[in-house]
Symmetry: C2
């Protein structure tokens, strides 16, 4: 589990959820890391090209690329033997970040953008689009009102039980 | 624009993209903030209930709730007059975070979970599911190979031009 700000651990027993999402956020949550990923999606592969594109300090870029390689999100492959030179490519794990990036973009464009939004084009159909999240089983829309996460936090279970008891005794 | 680690600003002119996504990540990227949101999606509304559920220090919880209210993601409403007591509810902007949370969960479950994944149930169809990102226009799958973001970074444009020129002169 990631270290917490308060030094405490959580008491609700959902450590697998916390960890899985917390680790994802650790991978992409840092600003430069996100920008390296965005350029990688465009096909930028070489250290100097990332550096030119992002205008980021070389030591920071080195740290971010190393972190992404260590996380298995990017891989480092030689593209030249003499002298030995490497390029950085997205792995399958890295390419699988697309739904996260597009949903961040859709929300940011709707709620946070004070400038014209960046356009996302689906080359399969040629349209300017935004991503929509659907159920893998029925293909229907998912939203805050039709999703449930199991297990349910203990406090929600307790509150429901209390309400049931109160209704029963009155 | 969010302050950067290096103190530099970016040189590529995509500040609106950077800002929109960077701000989204700022809202949800912090561990306790994400956990407050998760409990809010379950219907937890009162300070003491968040505190009991999360086991987080009260001062940290206060800071996180205030930040979410300031961002318009949650709102604070009185539920009792004497003494005055407030509860915290998700706004529409907050409920719109669902696709981000479910895509984080899907990626984390596939690539990061070392324990059985938390189950997400679509109550509309009753199935255990994961979220899938689709094109808003054609309903087709989106992935790293069929998306393009406009504008394209300058360095990618330049590389394409150079390749064209090289092909033309040989």
């Amino acid at each position: 589990m990631a270290p917490t700000e308060s030094g405490e651990t959580t008491s609700n027993g959902y450590d697998n959820l916390d960890c899985s999402v917390a680790r994802t956020l650790e991978h992409i949550g840092e600003r430069w890391t996100f920008m390296v990923l965005r350029d990688a999606f465009y096909g930028v592969r070489r250290f100097d090209d990332f550096q030119t594109s992002l205008g980021v300090a070389r030591n920071i870029l080195t740290k971010r690329l190393t972190k992404l390689v260590d996380a298995g999100i990017m891989c480092r492959e030689p593209y030249q033997e003499h002298p030995l030179r490497y390029e950085y490519r997205l792995t399958e794990k890295g390419r699988d970040l697309v739904p996260i990036l597009t949903s961040l973009l859709a929300w940011g464009d709707k709620w946070e953008a004070d400038e014209p939004p960046v356009r996302l084009i689906h080359t399969s159909c040629g349209n300017v689009m935004h991503s929509q999240s659907m159920c893998s089983e029925c293909g229907g829309e998912i939203n805050a009102f039709n999703l449930r996460l199991d297990p349910v936090p203990q406090i929600v279970v307790e509150r429901a039980l209390k309400a049931k008891l109160a209704a029963h005794t009155t």
